[in-house]
Symmetry: C2
Subunit: 464 residues, 2 copies
């Protein structure tokens, strides 16, 4: 055991207290009533970084402040950008919490509090590993740049301004300030308790709203039914046409650019022992369906999908109203995989729907937002370094997993900084990130700090 | 011109004043704030019938009173039950009325007021024809029974109690009191201005709600999409499966009992000169669709249909929410034609939907309400009498039309009293029955009174 590791062990209580301090600050970003909490959380981080001797910039945005801090550059060694967020989800519904959301409480080795896993607990592992290093070993062996935003849970508007180059960092253009070799984010989950993971792929997204208009007003479904094209009937037909019986998306060309799962990937996923029964039980269903020819885990992580997110038309109240609706609409989205191109998908979708539109119906198709999928090559030296570091911190080699969701900042880092992001998640799937009784295992917190410190050392060693 | 016809002509002003008196009473049934108006309208009718020397019963129900009145039986002559309603729709939105809804105002030969066409103006034609007859010719040549309810616009709960035999009429069981040979209702429309009509068919209805439940809570559509059966996707698929590309309903057996349109009917409809361009323009669409092989009018009047009346699932607000909904639901209804049986349709539907249900989705199918179609044989002597009477009153022979809507009381009369109903509509399709600026042409009012008197005479003549 090195001096650093001994010091990390001896600081466990202090680290837990730091975590509790930050968790006590109610930095809910979506509700302006908590604005003071946002400022206090940003100030807390500024003070901590200053205490570590880093160069700090509290960047004002048109919304919530971004906290930036950097250590000194190290010639010949890589620069790592660590992203995290100090804001948290609203704590409602409060009555479902077993202990108050902003009074961190330990039960069964886990700290219960809003933000414990998402993302205060996870982001602090990197702050505290660096702090301990600086106190024990002297200067960091690589340059660290911390970029901690305050509105990840409500749209990241300020971060957008920064990444669009509208704000500066330490007096320099933002893109120059953020220059780095690789990014690290700890805001995801391990594969399972005791099985750490590196998330090497995220799906992209293309989200749409379709609005259909038929007759100019709602009509009596008796007097007009059968004689007039019903926009709700048409909507059902259009939406049903998106996915076939085999679970495959029927838009011509949709699969043209899909990068197939490799045999290695399929073997690796199969070896993970994904518990499908537990998965079903966890969401309360007795069966699942999806694209034929792929396992549930493959569909979840690595196959494109189409889901209706919202539907509306006509009468939604109690009882029976005999209305032939004037309007019908839906929100739906595709999750994309490499190398699908969202604008190409959007164009194919539009053509496909327009070709099916019957007389008497006008359609408005709105592209809400989109992002391509991202994937980190498994043969990247940074992935190898992260895997070694996790093995040191957690005592077990990580598995390589993907995630069906999107993390927009990862796409931004790839596009604007040209770097891959290492998604090193210390949380668990049942941490209730956006729900009452959010938690984070203290042991994973300490392991994460160890893995983080190991990562700085391992990346520095690559220099040699 | 007979004495009666001369007297009807000379009473035009008095009849208009009677209409205006009744229209001034705000008898809105759906809003308890208007309860005094309901009672005043019932009292007005009671007084009028008493003044005519009829035997009257003001029947209290658990909701609004029913006004019943009968003339003396005439041996060997038929008894006619005249149904109408003294309640009216709410007048909102008030600011769209050109003149106040309860201050009848004549513009361009039409009286504008709430209830003018639906149904005070139309029902009064029968009251005033009988009143004039009694004043001019002595006793009526047939027995008339008036059944005027006060909540046709809000569920007819009291009428239901009466027809279920829970209330009595003039001390006798209701079914005995309502005994008759034929029923007459004037609460529909002519085919077009200057072209009177007899509505000889009404569609039936079978109305359903389907509720689908997938995962026990809304899920993240990124993390879970493709791995879980989405109830909104399933709903779109189930609803789309109801109707084929050819506009035909795909439930096995659905058309088994459909009575085909006769060649005579199709010829008659084709000869009516239905203006499809005007129809499209009136509802603001550039085209219509429906079952292939049938004209718009045939589909509207005489072919079964399926319309979605309401739809809901997931996120309906602004912007994009990446939710995989836990629930999805819809209201939808079939309009039925003779001789389709609603319970048989319901059973076939349930079987059809259940067979398509994928793993991971639970379905609840609720039968909301249903009624079979009704049709009056065109060779009925009552239809012949009514056609002659309308020719006398309107100066033109009526055409025979059908209607896509249902009128539940017609079904009740057929089932419980075993009689056909003559639907003798004096209104026009653009009378705005449930809308601002409801109107009724005074000339149609006077013609209706003449036709009504002619009907009593013609039905009495059948006796000879």
């Amino acid at each position: 055991m090195s001096d650093l590791e001994r010091e990390l062990d001896s600081r466990r209580d202090a680290h837990r207290e730091a975590l509790f301090d930050l968790l006590r600050i109610p930095s809910v970003s979506a509700d302006s009533a908590y604005r003071a909490g946002i400022d206090r959380a940003a100030d807390w981080l500024v003070d901590r970084f200053r205490g570590m001797g880093l160069t700090v910039d509290r960047i004002a945005t048109s919304t919530h402040p971004i906290v930036y801090a950097e250590s000194a550059p190290v010639a010949g060694a890589p620069t790592v950008l660590i992203y995290g967020h100090y804001d948290v989800q609203p704590p409602d519904p409060l009555d479902l919490w077993q202990s108050p959301p902003f009074e961190p409480t330990v039960r069964d080795g886990k700290v219960y509090a809003r933000g414990s896993t998402d993302d205060k607990g996870q982001l602090l592992t990197h702050v505290l590993s660096a702090e301990t290093w600086l106190a024990t070993e002297g200067p960091l062996p690589i340059q660290l740049k911390f970029l901690i935003e305050g509105e990840e849970e409500c749209g990241s508007e300020g971060l957008g301004e920064l990444l669009d180059g509208k704000l500066s960092i330490l007096g320099k253009p933002a893109m120059e300030g953020l220059k780095c070799d690789v990014a690290v984010i700890s805001d995801t989950c391990q594969f399972a308790p005791g099985q750490p993971a590196i998330t090497y792929g995220l799906k992209g997204i293309a989200y749409f709203q379709v609005d259909l208009v038929g007759p100019s007003i709602d009509l009596h479904s008796g007097s007009f039914g059968g004689a007039v094209t019903n926009p709700a009937n048409t909507l059902a037909r259009l939406l049903a046409s998106l996915v076939g019986e085999d679970g495959r998306i029927r838009i011509p060309g949709f699969y043209d650019d899909v990068r197939p799962l490799t045999d290695d990937e399929r073997r690796a996923y199969a070896s993970l022992g994904f518990d499908e029964n537990a998965f079903r039980a966890g969401i309360g269903v007795d069966g699942v369906t999806g694209e034929v020819g792929y396992t549930t885990l493959e569909r979840k992580w690595a196959r494109p999908t189409c889901d209706i997110n919202g539907l509306w038309s006509g009468y939604q109240g109690e009882g029976a109203k005999t209305v032939l609706p004037s309007k019908a609409g839906a929100k739906f989205s595709f999750r994309l995989v490499p190398d699908q191109d969202p604008p190409k998908i959007a164009a194919a979708l539009r053509q496909y729907l327009e070709a099916q539109l019957p007389p008497g119906i006008r359609m408005k198709l709105t592209e809400m937002h989109h992002a391509p999928a991202v994937i980190v090559p498994l043969d990247s030296p940074y992935v190898a370094a992260a895997a070694d570091a996790i093995e040191q911190g957690f005592g077990r080699r990580p598995v390589f997993i993907r995630e069906g969701g999107s993390i927009p900042v990862v796409t931004s880092f790839a596009r604007k900084l040209g770097v891959d992001t290492l998604l090193l998640g210390w949380g668990q799937n049942d941490d209730a990130a956006h729900s009452p009784n959010e938690k984070f295992a203290l042991e994973d917190f300490y392991r994460g700090i160890r893995a983080s410190a190991a990562l700085w050392r391992r990346l520095a060693a690559d220099r040699a």
